[in-house]
Every structure is written in structure tokens, then in C-alpha cells.
């Protein structure tokens, strides 16, 4: 993995490779582990994440499913209840609405409803986000919905290291874990650690230290925020960039410590503005360090419109570096 703070370009592996390495590692280490989802096998995964795994592990452990999101996600939950360690791939978050009932009403509640008798060690991965001109039904960023659900853990790896390491951490977690992989990151290159190690998923990461304002973000937007921070640096504004990494539970400590230092914060989130994860973080900052703030909090989110197909409109609908820079400047300028 190249240094945080710059979009890595000269490495030898991609984010896709990192996810694959994480899955492969889990399959090798734990015989209870298997991968299941639409086109994970023969096709190699719709984003080529699982390419080659079928040959290595066979069709029982790299299990192509019919188009039955509720059925196979529920089956993953059931298999976890039955002692397996399934990794279920829901092709994209866009289709996850069809299995949201299973995730909310079963994965997230069975432990509680059973008075703690059962755990559901299932990992559910899905691609998320816009930017590929896939239009209104294929461009959702619904992380905030999942982050609203008690009883599950929600991860959003933004780096190769996290993409690989979080998978293993998720597998050993006794509770359901949902992992969002931003579609724009799959081709991102870097290098993979030789030794695979689980990463701590409890903490947000400061990807760039700074003193003037805290930019809090996650997933695909991280790299836009880092680019914006570079641009801001040229204008003499020293931004700190926090990568949330885990969207549920949120690492308030890291966020608040940063905001207390910088006294200003900007939230960047590819979800639609109203009801965004950015809103939740703003609420927490106001609750926990209102008196430390020197300026109103601000956010850059997606416009409240189904994502349009044409590139210029899609770009305009999503958070972009200039808008982040502009919002940061306004936050700095606020008296």
C-alpha cells in the first residue's frame, strides 16, 4: 500500500486483488469458511474479485447462487447459525434492498431475540457507490441505512491494506459484519502486505494530519478528500483527513479528539444529503464538542437526485474535489 495521503498509482496489486487475497486467506485458514453469491464462481465475480478462486477451492466453497438475494443471504445467515463462516457477496448494494429484511430482521436480531444463545458469524460484502455511469438504479450509496442497524458491524475499507485485513477481522468476528467496497476503488493499485494480518476495525484512521480543520469521510471519498487536502495545503489550509473505516460502531473518540484540536469539521459522504451518515457525525460532534467549534459544521454529500446517466450530470451529483475544497474554505472563512 502506498502512503496514505496520496492516491496510490504505482503499486503492483489492486484493491480487487486485496479483497481477493483476504477471501483466499480466510478460505485457507478456516474450513468452515465459504464464499457464496451471484456469479462469484464461473464468472469470476461481477467486479472480478473472486476470479480464480473457483479453480482453487471448487464449487462447494465458491458457490454460485441463483438470482435470489433474500434466499441466499438468508441462507448465509442460516449457515452461520449452523456453524459455518459464510462470506456472502451481494453483487451490489443496489440489490441488497431485496435482502434487507434478512439482514435487519434476522442477522441483526437473532442474537438479541434469543437472549444471547445464538451468534451469526456471517460476513456480507457488497459493492457500493456511483461514478460509473450506471444510472439511477445502480448507483446507490446506502451505507447509512446499514449503519443505523443495531446488531451488525459495518465496515468500509478504503485502502488495500484494509480491504484485505478487514475481511479476516470480519470472519473471526462472532457477529454479522457488512462490508462495503466502493466500486471506484477496485482498480486502485498499491502493494499488498506479504504477511496477511487482521486489522483493528475499532478505530478510525487519520490518513493525513492537519491542524486547521478535520475532514471526516470514508470509502471512495477518502481519496477525493486527500486530494482536496493537498489543494487546500497549497492555499495554506492544513486539513486533517479522517477515514472512518468502521461505520458502525463509529469511533467517536478519534473524531472528537481531532475536532477538538482543529475546531472545525467538514463531512464528506457520497450518500444523499438528507439522512446521510454525514448528518449523524455532525450530530455527534454537536453533542460532544459543541463548545470546541469555531465554525458551523459543513458537509459535502450527493445531490438529492437519483443518479443521472450522463457523465457531466453524474459528476455534478456526486461530491467532487473542487466542492470539498470550496466547502473547506467556507468553513475556514466562517467567522
Amino acid at each position: 500500500m502506498s502512503e496514505p495521503g496520496q492516491q496510490p498509482t504505482n503499486g503492483t496489486a489492486t484493491y480487487r486483488d486485496a479483497v481477493r487475497a483476504g477471501i483466499r486467506d480466510a478460505l485457507i485458514r478456516d474450513p468452515r469458511c465459504f464464499l457464496m453469491g451471484e456469479d462469484v464462481g464461473r464468472y469470476g465475480g461481477c467486479y472480478a474479485v473472486s476470479k480464480g478462486l473457483l479453480d482453487e477451492f471448487g464449487p462447494e466453497r465458491i458457490r454460485d447462487t441463483p438470482l435470489s438475494e433474500s434466499g441466499f443471504v438468508g441462507a448465509g445467515i442460516g449457515a452461520a447459525l449452523g456453524g459455518m463462516r459464510p462470506i456472502v457477496e451481494v453483487m451490489t448494494v443496489n440489490f441488497s434492498l431485496l435482502c434487507l429484511d434478512q439482514i435487519l430482521n434476522n442477522a441483526a436480531t437473532i442474537r438479541h431475540m434469543s437472549g444471547g444463545q445464538f451468534s451469526i458469524p456471517v460476513v456480507i460484502r457488497m459493492a457500493s457507490g456511483a461514478g460509473r455511469q450506471l444510472a439511477a438504479q445502480h448507483s446507490h450509496s446506502l451505507e447509512v441505512w446499514y449503519a443505523h442497524i443495531p446488531g451488525i458491524r459495518v465496515l468500509a475499507p478504503a485502502t488495500l491494506e484494509d480491504a484485505q485485513g478487514m475481511l479476516w477481522t470480519a470472519i473471526v468476528d462472532p457477529d454479522p459484519v457488512v462490508i462495503f467496497e466502493n466500486v471506484m476503488l477496485y482498480n486502485m493499485t498499491g502493494s499488498l502486505p506479504v504477511e496477511v494480518r487482521p486489522v483493528d476495525i475499532g478505530r478510525a484512521a487519520i490518513r493525513r494530519s492537519g491542524t486547521d480543520l478535520s475532514i471526516v469521510t470514508y470509502g471512495g471519498s477518502l481519496w477525493k478528500c486527500l486530494a482536496a487536502a493537498e489543494a487546500l495545503a497549497e492555499a495554506g489550509i492544513d486539513a486533517e483527513v479522517i477515514d472512518l473505516r468502521t461505520l458502525r460502531p463509529l469511533d467517536d473518540e478519534t473524531i472528537m479528539a481531532s475536532v477538538r484540536r482543529t475546531r472545525r469539521a467538514l463531512l464528506v459522504d457520497e450518500g444523499w444529503r438528507s439522512g446521510s451518515l454525514a448528518a449523524e457525525i455532525m450530530a455527534r460532534i454537536v453533542e460532544q464538542c459543541f463548545w470546541s467549534l469555531d465554525a458551523p459544521l459543513a458537509r459535502v454529500c450527493s445531490e438529492e437526485v437519483p443518479i443521472p446517466y450522463p457523465k457531466h450530470l453524474e459528476d455534478a451529483a456526486l461530491p467532487q474535489v473542487p466542492a470539498i475544497v470550496e466547502a473547506a474554505r467556507r468553513t475556514m472563512g466562517a467567522k
Binding site: 465459504f34 462447494e60 433474500s70 434466499g71 438468508g74 442460516g78 449452523g82 430482521n105 443495531p150 460502531p249
Partner: protein, 332 residues
Amino acid sequence: MTGATMDKPHLTRAHARELLHQMQRIRSFEEKCAELYTQEKIRGFLHLYIGQEAVAVGVMQALEPRDGIVATYREHGHALARGLDMGRVMAEMYGKQEGSSRGRGGSMHIFDAAGRFYGGNAIVGGGLPIAVGLGLAERMRASGAVCVAFFGEGAAAEGEFHESLNLAALWRLPVLFVCENNLYAMGTALRLSESEPEIWRKAASYRIAAEAVNGMDVVAVEAAARRAVHSLREGEGPFFIECRTYRFRAHSMFDAQLYRQKAEVEEWKKRCPIRMFGDWAIAAGLLHPDEIEAIGHEVEAEVAAAVRFAEAGTWEPVADLRRDVMTPGEAS
């Protein structure tokens, strides 16, 4: 009830007694529950199984302890027939921490790890994919264990029914689908919910072996379940049984039953699985009326003890509210 199905050679006196006893346990337990509901000891939704006892009791005969069970919100019968302790089930109805789900679940969410009893699912159809997954786990481990999913005929209209049957058949999983066709989904009659009201015929769409049985006849249900489970253990893939039954009571305690005629209910009550089986067993010389009376006493005592246990149970402290959301020791 046909004499034919009852004339099973393996129906020993002990087994006949056991069947009657189990059905009576459910009946008496639930009659008590209805009473406790009006006393506001039990709250929320309470869905009684009265009238359908032959299904849970019949099917459970075919299962071993290693087999898994997924049921619905109408699951007291399944829980008791599976052998869960009646006191703990009753305590769960009260919401006491001595309950089978430590009180968190209530009537609709009875769970028991030891009994491999996976709830208690209150989303219609929601348990079916879970059963498929449990079957998948058994199949991948080649454990020989099976999983049974109980659900109503109303659930057959849900998309998850379709997805689950296809998955189970495609992967040849050891899942027994038991549809308890009691003719109504809340107030919606079968003819208003299914263009093909012979539910068992739907199994053909997935190439799943299926049969319909008289769900008021505990022996017929047991026989069908044994055939089915045998086939499951042989690795023949899933099996589907439609049990034709009826609920004698309202859907839940809130239901005014505007949607069905009293006469229809009375007609079905004549086929009461408990009375029918008892009468037959006496006529067949398998049970003596005294034995039946003894069962009644035994069950009354068990129910009374269960109520005492529940009454004596304790409320979980409010301070523990956030317990059991995530596994202890993990961040939440």
C-alpha cells in the same frame, strides 16, 4: 382420519400415549396462555396453535436431537413438542429472564440452542431462507442431520418461499418444508391468496418431492414425516409436506374473526386431533380411558408448575438493556 393410517404396526401403546400426551401438553398450555393473556400476564401478540397440534407433534417424532427446527410466531406447539421445558417457555411468554430467550423475545421468539430450535420468526416467510442455510451447513459438513421449516399456507405467496425451495432443491439440501395449511392467513382465505390452492403442487416447480396429508391426524403426519426424513437422510434432497389443518382460535388475540363462519369453525372442531386420536386409541384398545384421564392430570400439573415458574421468575434489570446486541467483549 382414516383407520388406514392409524393402523400402523409400530404404534405401540407407549407411543400412542406419547403422541396424545404431547398434543395435550400443547393444548393445555395454550388454553392457559389465552387465560393469562386476558389477565395481561402475557402481552404483545399471542398466536395460538390450538387445533394444529397434530402437525408439530407428528413431525417431531421423525426428528433426532441433532436436527434443526425453524418455526414461526405460532411456535409454542413446536417448542413444546421439541422438548423445550414448559416452565421456561411460559416464563418467556411473561418476559421473565428465566424464559427460554431470557424474556427478550416473548411469545413470537422462542429459541433454544440445546434443542436446536431456531425460533420463533415473526416475519412471514422469513424463516425459510434460514432453514435452507441450516440445511446447507449440514450438507457441507455431511453431518446427516436435517432441518425442518414450519410455515403457514399464507407464507407460500411470499417471494422467499420460492427462493428457498429453489435453493434447497438445486443444492439438494436436507430441508423438510412443512406447510401448515390452516386455510387462513390472518383473515385472508386461501382462495384469495393463491391461484393454485393445492400448495403441495407448487413443490413440483422445483422438482421437490411432495405430499399432502391430513394434518388433523397425528399418525398420518408422523408417517409422512418419517418417510420424508428418511429420504432427506438418504441425500435425496428436500421434501415438502402440506398438512391440512385448522386453527380453532382467532389468528391472534386481537382478531374478531369477521372473515369466517362460526359453522365452519364448529365443523373443523369435530376433527379435533386430540379427541379423534384419543377416541381411536381407545377403540383400538391402545389406550384406556383412565390413561387418558391420567394424561390430563399430568399435563394440568405441568402447566400449573410452568405458571408458578413463570410467576416466580424475575425481571431483567433495566441496566442490562443493551445486552445481547453484540457478542460480549466485542465493541458495539
